[in-house]
Symmetry: C2
Subunit: 306 residues, 2 copies
């Protein structure tokens, strides 16, 4: 199966399931609308697709873990809503549409994010699964999601990102080394953690052997870092319309590879990270077809335009 | 054991365990400080104590479920931090100290809340439990926490509370019936859901029979409603110093029983709710001592001063 067809099928399944899960919560109507607004805003569904392919690598049918795939997309979406809030990055646009708080107001956007985060666990933990997804596997997958998204991971990445704003203005040349270490800290947690969680959760749900779990985890980490490096490059060279944002990171005085190292070195890093990811993937013993899909997904990440 | 001694022992255990769990996450230092600031601000630990007593009612030793007891306190604390934010209730004081965002800034307070919510699940799902806390029981308890705290519960309560601000100013007399229904919706979700979750989680972790689970759940709901009714009364008649807040709900034009029905009727309702809670509790078949503790805890809720 070609990767585009694979992605399209997974995107469709997730796109259909998400509003169904939200509807099942019987939330306050306006809250449910705010949740759905950002959930159904044309996300790439990269994390669910990675989870599905990882699960299939160890022999499952990815339809079986749809609630978990939707859960990680809900966590990803909450993080975008909160990141865009005035107190954070104060972004007016997201994926080419007004940010959640521009449509529903700050309070409702904050609550929509809170609900998406909380109900990622409701959706994942309350669903019925086939017997192969045993309770301890589900527990482990949910613990991975929480651990990678929480203070040990994504939230600390966002906290460091905010602390780092204007870092280079304050003392450019002498602090380049520290800036690179800080940037690596941010990328690892803010972006790579949740992408790593996606493949780890797929492996955990399928009951992958520990050695393969670890190799897949390394694949996820490098793929996540590659994703963020590609993001930095796109932010400078990309088409703002396709990106769907209006203010660039440079304008926000964000720390980026492009700003620190120049575009050429940033591109070289992204390529090296992809190769490193693929080396880890090659160590994973699983079914060939879904493993090849993971490699193709990784290629998409580097070539993406938004 | 007298209820005060029981509470003191549970408060001590939770107070000691919480910073240890936060430390274990290896968060960004400032983020960890912001999380600990609100976690260790002298909370009453009512929800953990209720969970412990519910668990003991069905034969467990409450030390076994300390991670779950801490998890519900983390969820409660996140909700207070987010509720106090400028976009929400814009509160300057909480428990007699400056609100989280007054100390750490809005962005950090938002992230501290996000992390506390997420890592409630990390703490609860990653911990080791004795064999009697089987994986399906733990899954069910975590699903209860997420379901009661999410869009089906607490978050919709907060959303409705914000929508209801100034409701009575807009058309007082004719809308009294609607206002009462709205107020009941808010109390049920904003406050009663998490208190219900506390006893339900204790029962689920201990593997209580379904009939007892349901009776305990009804106890939790009425106790939660009684808690909120008592809160409304305290807000009017209480000592502002002991409450540790500076603006009353009346000043915020919040819908309250006291405003809608007057103090006497509000007091009558709180008493009736407590009696209803105790009737449900009487139907629970479990160990007598911890069940008596639950009744005593309920009494404390009605008599509380902060």
């Amino acid at each position: 199966m070609r990767i585009e067809a694979y992605m399209a099928a997974r995107v469709l399944a997730v796109d259909r399931a998400l509003p169904r899960f939200i509807g099942g919560l019987r939330a306050r109507p306006r809250l449910a609308r705010a949740m759905n607004y950002s959930l159904c805003a044309g996300g790439k569904r990269l994390r669910p697709a990675l989870m599905c392919a990882a699960y299939e690598t160890f022999g499952g049918d990815s339809g079986e873990i749809l609630p978990a795939a939707c859960a990680i997309e809900m966590v990803h979406t909450y993080s975008l809503i909160h990141d865009d809030l005035p107190a954070m990055d104060d972004a007016a646009l997201r994926r080419g549409r007004p940010a959640n708080h521009k449509v529903y107001g700050e309070a409702a956007a904050l609550l929509a994010g809170d609900a998406l985060l909380t109900d990622a666990f409701t959706v994942m933990l309350s669903a019925k699964y086939p017997p192969r997804v045993k309770a301890p596997r589900l527990l482990r997958a949910a613990a991975i999601l929480a651990g990678r998204a929480g203070a040990a991971g994504m939230v600390s990445g966002q906290a460091a990102d905010l602390e780092a704003e204007g870092f280079l203005d304050r003392a450019p040349a002498a602090r380049r080394g520290r800036a690179l270490r800080l940037l690596s800290y941010i990328h690892r947690r803010k972006t790579a953690c949740l992408i790593t969680a996606a493949v780890e959760m797929g492996a955990a749900l399928a009951g992958a052997p520990e050695k393969d779990f670890r190799a897949l985890s390394a694949f996820g980490r490098d793929l996540g870092l590659c994703f963020q490096a590609a993001d930095d490059i796109l932010d400078v060279s990309g088409d703002r319309k396709k990106l769907g944002k209006n203010a660039s990171d440079a304008r926000n005085r964000k720390l980026t590879y492009a700003a620190l190292l120049g575009m050429e070195e940033a591109r070289r890093r992204a390529g090296a990270l992809l190769r490193s990811a693929l080396r880890s993937l090659a160590r994973v013993k699983g079914r060939d077809k879904p493993r090849a899909l993971l490699a193709d997904l990784a290629g998409l990440v580097l070539r993406r335009e938004n």
